[in-house]
């Protein structure tokens, strides 16, 4: 199908959706439904590169740039939570997503997967018990875990203690499909078996302290192997003028500590100063069902600090810095070893020039193994009316992708608008243009312009469960 026809169909769908939904909320709200329906169309211009057959000899270039192509994708989401099935405390939640690929044959990630039931579960709350069955997610210090199954939660009358247990068919991380289906044709070593997930957590609260301990295990459904076995401990301590956040996880499957982070933040001087300090450890997690699960990546340890200052209610500035150092990789260095330390720094400011105009700017610097980035962003957001806001932005960056194709510079500008068409319908659209100056290193580095655009529509059904832009009357 021609790209223009597919694009046209997407916009027609948006128009029909926009026209049909305003009458729906009242009807549906009366039935006890809350949620939203949203459509988004995105376009990004890409300039693929390809390896030159016979290249890479002496001074010949290895890669050349192909022509610019547009990759377009449309998504339509329906998110609903409904009550009123004749039983007190019972509800149902779904988040359904439909995707369509438009434009050239360049793949927008995941558009070959036309439909996803991201969430689809029924829930019953009775006293301190919550029972949930269906497709759901557990969000925890171990990340997002999706599964088809059941979950039972209980909390005491004071809500100071709660426990939960869950289990079911595990879905691929970030994909919400069984692993073997999600990675079929993409990866070579995908287990034929399904993966089962079991887990549980206990949470305690005492005044400002909340602690959650979690254990989670994934096994192949024929019990022939372990996919993962991890645990986490997370705490949040609220103090009079700040808080302490702690995260720690352990990979029992790989028998090594995972990520850890301890952040202390505090306000000073009538709340005008905010100081934050973080010590962290990062190591990627891979399932034991992949060979990377046994490749033993090393962790980096680092510290970060941030200071924010708000001399008035209309002005805020901040600065941050961080440093990290990777552990010994145990590899033999040829010629010269790669860098094993990274640093980052940034400064920024936000200024409300008028109640309806807010400006912001920030500069970020990042350098370490793998890449260097120097970037500057500035934006001005103006509320043209109560229902329309327009934002303009500029950006400039220079990056060195150490392991890839060399230097690159970019200079971009964009504009976007958010409109509340009615109390229930919001529309958004934006476009940006980035001028890439690849530094002249071969054809792949020749200058080109990259455009990106998006538009979206969201219709609230019932009341907005996302709580966006809502204030109490």
């Amino acid at each position: 199908m021609a790209a223009s026809a597919r694009l046209g169909r997407a916009f027609v769908s948006l128009a029909i959706l926009g026209a049909a939904m305003p009458g729906a909320p009242g009807t549906v709200a009366g039935q006890g439904v809350r949620g939203w329906v949203g459509s988004t169309v995105q376009m990004v211009e890409l300039r693929p590169i390809e390896q030159i057959a016979g290249g890479c000899v002496t001074d010949e270039p290895c890669y050349r740039a192909l022509g610019e192509e547009q990759s377009l994708a449309a998504t339509q989401d329906v998110s609903l939570t409904a009550w009123g099935f004749g039983l007190q405390g019972i509800s149902g939640t779904v988040l359904l997503r439909n995707r369509a690929r438009l434009g050239s044959d360049r793949i927008w990630p995941r558009t070959d997967d036309r439909f996803d039931a991201i969430l689809a579960y029924a829930q019953l709350v009775r006293g301190g018990f919550t029972v949930r069955a269906g497709r759901q997610e557990v969000r925890s210090g171990l990340g997002f875990s999706s599964f088809d199954g059941g979950r039972l939660q209980w909390h005491g009358s004071s809500r100071a203690i709660s426990v939960e247990a869950y289990g079911g068919r595990s879905l691929a991380r970030g994909l919400r499909e069984p692993l073997r289906e999600a990675l079929r044709g993409i990866e070579s070593f995908v287990p034929e078996q399904g993966v089962l997930l079991f887990g549980g957590s206990a949470r305690g609260r005492l005044r400002g302290l909340s602690v959650t301990a979690r254990y989670q295990r994934e096994i192949l459904d024929d019990r022939s192997g372990l996919a993962s076995e991890r645990g986490s401990l997370d705490l949040s301590l609220l103090t009079a003028r700040g808080r302490v956040l702690g995260e720690l996880d352990y990979d029992f499957g790989a028998e090594r500590p995972g990520k850890a982070r301890l952040t202390w933040s505090n306000v000073f001087g009538d709340g005008r100063w905010l100081v934050e300090a973080t010590a962290l450890r990062y190591v990627p997690y891979f399932s034991l069902s992949t060979i990377w699960g046994f490749f033993e990546p090393v962790a980096y340890h680092g510290v970060e600090g941030r200071v924010a200052w708000s001399p008035s209610s209309v002005l805020g500035v901040w600065a941050s810095g961080g440093w990290r150092k990777y552990g010994d990789t145990g590899t033999t260095a040829i010629l010269r070893p790669l860098e094993d330390q990274g640093r980052r720094a940034s400064v920024g400011a936000r200024w409300s020039l008028r109640p309806d105009v807010t400006a912001g700017a920030g500069y970020d610097l990042e350098w370490g193994p793998g890449g260097f980035l120097s970037s500057f962003d500035a934006s001005v957001r103006m509320a043209v009316s109560e229902r329309l806001a327009v934002t303009g932005n500029v950006s400039s960056f220079q990056q060195i992708e150490q392991y890839r194709i060399g230097d690159g510079r970019g200079l971009g500008a964009g504009v976007s608008a958010d409109a509340e068409f009615t109390d229930r319908i919001t529309l958004g659209a934006g476009a940006s243009l980035v001028r890439h100056d690849g530094g002249g290193e071969g054809p792949a580095g020749s200058p080109w312009n990259q455009t990106r655009a998006w538009m979206s529509a969201r219709v609230l059904v019932g009341e907005d469960p996302g709580l966006a832009n809502r204030r109490r009357r």
Partner: protein
């Protein structure tokens, strides 16, 4: 008159006074008898109302036929009067009862002129400006304030629902000073009504309460008679002033400890709570009536983010907060809230503009954990491969050309940033060299690698590189 009888009778006077104080009282009487026109014919009140003085009900009013003695159509135009009927009134005063009480107390009968005007122009009317004094002439008023909070209105007044008042008279009812307080509606009127609903019912019907009150089963409300179907009430808009307790920043977090279905349902329907409570809905919320099931609309809340969300760095901190106390998040959010950002179609909201063009450094440094939202194997690799950046099954030379002899040095880079490798390479790319049948059979494991434990945990994965059990055995 004895003191006892005065105490007993004083309320009657108050009733009379209050009733007469109501503006428009006479205006709504249907065809009031023109006493002043008949002054010559009936110079004394008892000429027509003999029974009042004597306490004989049958002769309190004249017979209708007696009018026709003159109004026969010849001497005077005919009139239609079918007999006396009680005019709309909110006082309990009854001439007969009053007279009987005087007799029982051994007091002399009161003359008509004690209360009624004898002036020619206003004959028989009760002078509103003097009525309190008139009543209090005999009946001591204990409070001295007609609208005193402790006043027993029901002593002299009947409930509004029983008065038969029309709209004008209801709207003209006086407002006690207490009602003008800013705190009257949000905080004071409830306690004042407790146990004294009859006082409220003097000027209100239950319908007035139900304009705002979601829970109509409160004792204070059910004790107030509802308006009869024929009574026309003033139009009222529901008002929900914010109680002072709700204004505090900490209220949002504290209110769960103070939840009382009885108190919350004063102003809130279940729908109000569900504005925020979308995820795990507390049982108390389920016990509240729904909007539409009750006459009051309820406050109509819009969701308000807790103070923690206003922090400059909340976006960075929220993951840790959610991990430590995820149930707090679930009070207001369902997972789709998270997914809207973590796996949502991008509208430029999370990443800065032109992030696609410059995300590499962020990805290497893992300043954000990409895998929280993106599948490295599918999301990252699909785009990289389609852009010519990813491996397509054969390891070509020259791509990592910024690092001479990259292949010999890639081990350190892989151990430092294995996720970046996986964003372009399949596992088979690695196996080409690292598998036992690969070109170099280079072990990717460290010196401390526990092969036995690895085999026990996932033998299938071991066999991706090893043709048999690498630690021996079957």
């Amino acid at each position: 008159m004895t003191k006892r009888s005065r105490r007993f009778l004083f309320p009657a006077g108050v009733l009379l006074a209050m009733g007469a104080a109501v503006a428009g009282t006479r205006a709504e009487q249907v065809s009031p008898f023109p006493h002043e026109d008949h002054q010559g014919l009936f110079p004394v009140c008892t000429g027509c109302h003999e029974g009042v003085e004597g306490g004989v009900a049958e002769t309190v009013y004249p017979e209708p036929a007696s009018c026709r003695n003159c109004h026969d159509g010849i001497r005077e135009e005919t009139v239609t009067w079918e007999g006396a009927s009680r005019a709309p009134s909110n006082v309990t005063f009854d001439h007969m009862v009053h007279a009987a009480e005087l007799r029982e107390a051994g007091d002399a009968p009161q003359s008509c002129e004690s209360c009624h005007s004898s002036d020619p122009g206003t004959r028989m009317s009760v002078d509103a400006s003097e009525e309190l004094e008139t009543c209090w002439g005999c009946h001591a008023h204990e409070t001295g304030d007609h609208f005193a909070p402790a006043a027993s209105c029901e002593t002299c007044h009947v409930p509004l629902a029983s008065t038969g008042f029309g709209l004008a008279r209801i709207e003209a009812l006086p407002q006690p000073a207490s009602h003008g307080s800013e705190l009257f509606l949000p905080e004071e009127h409830g306690p004042m009504a407790q146990g004294y609903a009859d006082r409220c019912s003097t000027c209100h019907t239950a319908d007035r309460c139900l304009v705002c009150h979601v829970d109509g089963t409160l004792v204070e409300i059910t004790a107030i008679p509802a308006a009869p179907g024929t009574m026309v009430l003033p139009e009222r808009e529901a008002e929900y002033p914010t109680p002072s307790s709700h204004v505090d920043d900490g209220w949002l977090n504290a209110h769960k400890l103070q939840v009382s279905v009885r108190e919350c349902s004063t102003c809130h329907t279940r729908d109000d709570c569900r504005t925020c409570h979308v995820g795990i809905v507390p049982t108390a919320v389920e016990e509240l009536p729904r909007r539409g099931e009750v006459s009051a609309p309820g406050v109509g809340l819009e969701a308000r983010a807790p103070a923690s969300h206003e922090s400059l760095f909340f976006l960075d901190a929220h993951s840790a907060l959610a991990a430590a106390d995820g149930r707090s998040c679930a009070v207001c959010h369902v997972e789709s809230t998270c997914i809207a950002c973590h796996d949502g179609p991008s509208d430029g909201g999370y990443h800065p503009p032109s992030f696609v063009a410059r995300h590499a450094a962020d990805a290497f440094a893992r300043s954000d954990e990409c895998a929280t939202c993106h599948s490295v194997e599918v999301f990252c690799r699909a785009c990289h491969q389609d852009s010519g950046l990813g491996s397509r099954g054969r390891l070509g030379s020259g791509y990592h050309d910024a690092e001479p002899l990259w292949l010999l040095r890639h081990g350190q880079g892989a151990r430092q940033s294995l996720e970046s490798c996986a964003s372009c390479h399949r596992q088979t790319d690695c196996v080409q060299c690292h598998g036992v049948l690969g070109a170099f059979s280079v072990s990717p494991h460290s010196r401390d690698f526990d092969a036995v434990a690895a085999w026990e945990r996932s033998p299938r994965t071991c066999l991706a590189c090893h043709v048999s059990n690498p630690v021996g055995g079957p």
